[in-house]
């Protein structure tokens, strides 16, 4: 027994052990813990005395659940923000980096300690939840789903707050961030409690297939966001001369592949597969991809010394790794590769029962791809030479959404000035929603040449930095091999 424990103890994440020990000694955690217990007891008693017997279980469970949700989705992630905030300061991070721990282990340790705290709180409230089950009106299955979902989202939120805590070390900004996170967590907890109670009130919803589809979609979306936050946190503590963007780039490819799989599964499952649905999902995918690519396309155009050392010795191989190497030029290569893979698969091997030669399928997909490439590719190359500086980088990232907003608003404004009704009502190519409507209606308003021109322009604008990036790779690969 003792040997088994030593074996486990040795393999626990050191940060987890440290943080749990610290949390157990900290007032914040003990306060949270005590408060949850006291509130659950107090409110529970109150409810028990006042409510009529049919609903008793649901109301009691709902109350205890509210306490649990507030603690696990509100206070625990918030505590993760505070704890990580202390740990991200340069001095402490340096001390951690001097040990044998890898960045991923450090972030995982912090995350696991949040999960452990949530589990401890659940454990404390378990007697109350048990009591609720004895009362009439609580469906065990629903309650289980609600609790599991809560714990999953508690972990997701902790990922986000851990990543958010390194955004800035500026005191004032940290306070603002803290306020914002506090508010968001509170709001999120409120929504979660409302949803949880809604589910308890209508347990038969769960018999529905659609409920599970929605559940899976929400959990997977949250998971993708949390995974990005996790990878970003790891990247942040990795050395700047190392390839910090590779994990994020790989994750983008994985998420894109997952979306593709989801589209195929969904089309296989639904009774009436629909090409418009595929195009709509692809549009959704393109929209979300603009976020990571706005970051990849604005990375500083240089290879750190460690990146150069890690390059494959053969020049050709080094060139082939371009999409995964840091730098905006290489980011553009990744964008092209991702688009080619995602849309290529959808076009060449369409989902079951979807006809790729139906009117709107091909134009729809090509339109999505064009908008994605144009949205992130027009403004970013202009900043390429100065993105080493953080303010320029931030500006470069923001330039993409600003460009999109301008493309939407400027023609409308022009329409307002010249009293052009169509432009005034956002009926122009700068508005992707309108363009997609046109595609579905099959009345391509002559938008194709414009989009095509846009894509060609973006390609021309980005060719110089892509070439520069590739040259850098080639020379670096060659210099390390000698």
């Amino acid at each position: 027994m003792k040997r088994a424990w030593t074996w486990i103890d040795d393999r626990l994440n050191p940060i987890l052990v440290k943080e749990v020990r610290q949390a157990l000694r900290s007032r914040f955690f003990l306060g949270t813990y005590g408060l949850a217990l006291v509130m659950a007891t107090g409110i529970g008693m109150f409810v028990l005395m006042g409510a009529d017997s049919d609903e008793l279980g649901t109301i009691f469970f709902g109350t205890v659940y509210a306490c649990l949700a507030a603690a696990t989705m509100g206070l625990v992630p918030f505590q993760a923000f505070l704890a990580a905030g202390g740990g991200w300061d340069a001095e402490k991070t340096n001390i951690l980096l001097l040990t044998d721990l890898r960045p991923a282990q450090i972030v995982r340790g912090r995350l696991l300690s949040s999960v452990t705290q949530s589990l401890l709180i659940l454990l404390a409230l378990l007697p109350f939840l048990g009591l609720a089950f004895l009362l009439p009106g609580v469906d065990l299955g629903v309650a289980g789903v609600v609790l599991v979902t809560t714990l999953i989202f508690s972990a997701y939120l902790s990922c986000l707050t851990i990543a958010a805590s390194w955004l800035t070390s500026n005191k004032l900004l940290r306070v603002l961030l803290m306020t914002f996170l506090g508010g968001s967590l509170l709001w999120f907890t409120g929504v979660a409690v409302a949803l949880g109670i809604e589910m308890l009130d209508h347990p038969d919803n769960m018999a529905d297939d659609e409920f599970w589809w929605a559940w899976a979609a929400i959990v997977l979306h949250g998971g993708a966001v949390a995974a990005f936050a996790f990878a970003a946190a790891c990247a942040r503590i990795a050395h700047p001369e190392e390839n910090r963007s590779r994990p994020l780039r790989l994750l983008t490819l994985v998420v894109t592949a997952a979306l593709l799989v989801a589209i195929y599964v969904l089309m296989d499952q639904t009774s009436s597969p629909d090409d418009e649905m595929v195009v709509a999902l692809a549009a959704y995918g393109s929209l979300t991809l603009t976020v990571p690519f706005a970051f990849f396309l604005t990375e500083p155009e240089r290879l750190g010394r460690r990146v150069r050392i890690d390059l494959p010795r053969r020049r050709l191989l080094a060139l082939l790794t371009a999409p995964l190497q840091p730098g905006g030029g290489n980011g553009f290569v990744l964008l092209l590769v991702t688009c080619a893979a995602f849309f290529g698969v959808l076009i060449l091997a369409p989902p079951p029962n979807v006809d790729q030669w139906r009117d709107e399928y091909l134009p729809g997909l090509l339109t999505c791809a064009s908008y994605l490439i144009i949205a992130v590719g027009v403004t970013t190359p202009f900043f390429a030479r100065w993105t080493e500086r953080t303010p320029v980088r931030i500006l470069a990232v923001l330039s993409a959404p600003m460009f999109c907003a301008a493309a939407m608003l400027a023609p409308a404004f022009w329409g307002f000035v010249t009293s052009d009704r169509d432009l005034e009502r956002f009926r122009h190519v700068g508005n992707p929603v309108y363009t997609m409507e046109q595609v579905f209606r099959g009345s391509g308003d002559g938008y194709e040449p414009l989009l095509f021109l846009g894509v060609i322009t973006v390609l021309m604008l980005n060719v110089p930095r892509v070439i520069r990036g590739l040259r850098l790779l080639r020379s670096a690969g060659a210099s390390t091999s000698t």
């Binding site: 050191p14 001097l98 010394r305």
Partner: protein, 310 residues
């Protein structure tokens, strides 16, 4: 093979060359003093050796492992004590050590043993139960040293470990470092307190404005700077007069006044010294003190650096 081999590293911040083609090496069992004025680039160089920063050019080998290509292997072989102490709230020293031992990958009995040994060695004793954010300066240094020793590194890099310590704590630190060197570890230690270093360092590297001004044994550097032996002479006469008389003698050069007497260099052998004393006494100069000055780090430091701060 050297324990630490710094090969012409350069580090540029914006347009400031904080470290400029710095090279030196530390052998196993050697204590190397790294001295230089404020802003000379000591911390920057040490951070590069400890893999926390990367040189823009050049490389550092720790036990033959490059900080550029094998940072993890380097980290396993060295213990770095920065010039600050990062304490953790709500954590006794024992847990702090336990955490670092785990983070260094020590498991089971070997972890317990490593912790016991470093606690014994650094004399932390009963302090292990104290909260680690509530330690005094001296105790922090001990805790810091204990952390760097946990994984039994071959090379120790200590950034200003003696700063802020009282004389007794300094003597104790010195004793600890000597023991570590005897165990065959290489030690690189930076400090401003030169007297402190001269007593324990086998070799020194003097850095100023990012460049190494001299490195090697203190006596060797001294000899290179000042090939002739230095003497101190005091007489019952004003130092001006003494200096004047000395300059009249053959072989005397570079005199300067110090502590009511005169320090000067004398070209030649001991016979020349005897001849000088004879001549001075023959001139009725009432000499009361004459002694040879030995290589002094402070002396070396002051003559090598010109006090410009970056």
């Amino acid at each position: 093979m050297s324990c630490l081999e710094v090969q012409s590293i350069t580090r540029v911040f914006d347009d400031l060359k904080a470290v400029d083609e710095v090279s030196f090496s530390v052998e196993a069992g050697q204590i190397c003093g790294f001295i230089g004025p404020n802003g000379a680039g000591k911390t920057t160089s040490m951070r590069i050796c400890a893999t926390l920063d990367l040189p823009d050019d050049g490389d550092v080998l720790v036990d033959g492992m490059s900080v550029l290509s094998h940072p993890r292997e380097v980290r396993r072989r060295l213990g770095f004590m920065p010039d600050y102490y990062a304490s953790e709230p709500n954590m006794p020293v024992a847990d702090y050590l336990d955490f670092h031992a785990r983070a260094q990958g020590l498991r089971g009995p070997s972890r317990t043993r490593a912790i016991r040994e470093v606690v014994e060695f650094t004399g932390l004793g009963d302090l292990v139960a104290k909260d680690c954010s509530a330690l005094s300066k001296g105790m922090r240094q001990r805790a810091g040293l204990a952390v760097t020793l946990l994984h039994d590194p071959a090379l120790l890099i200590l950034d200003e470990p003696a700063a802020g310590l009282d004389p007794r704590a300094r003597v104790e630190l010195r004793a600890l470092l000597s023991v570590l060197a005897e165990q065959g570890k290489g030690v690189l230690i930076s400090s401003h307190i030169l007297t402190e270093l001269s007593e324990i360092c086998d070799v020194v590297a003097v850095i100023e404005q990012g460049r190494i001004r001299a490195s090697g044994k203190v006596s060797d550097i001294q000899r290179r700077l000042q090939p002739d032996p230095l003497y101190f002479l005091r007489a019952l006469a004003p130092p001006d007069v003494v200096e004047q008389r000395l300059l009249e003698q053959p072989g005397v050069h570079a005199p300067r006044q110090q502590d009511q007497g005169v320090v000067f260099a004398l070209r030649g052998q001991e016979q020349d010294l005897a001849r000088l004393v004879h001549a001075l006494v023959a001139q009725d100069l009432p000499v009361v003190e004459l002694r040879q000055l030995h290589a002094d780090l402070e002396e070396v430091f002051l003559s090598l650096t010109d006090g410009k701060v970056q």
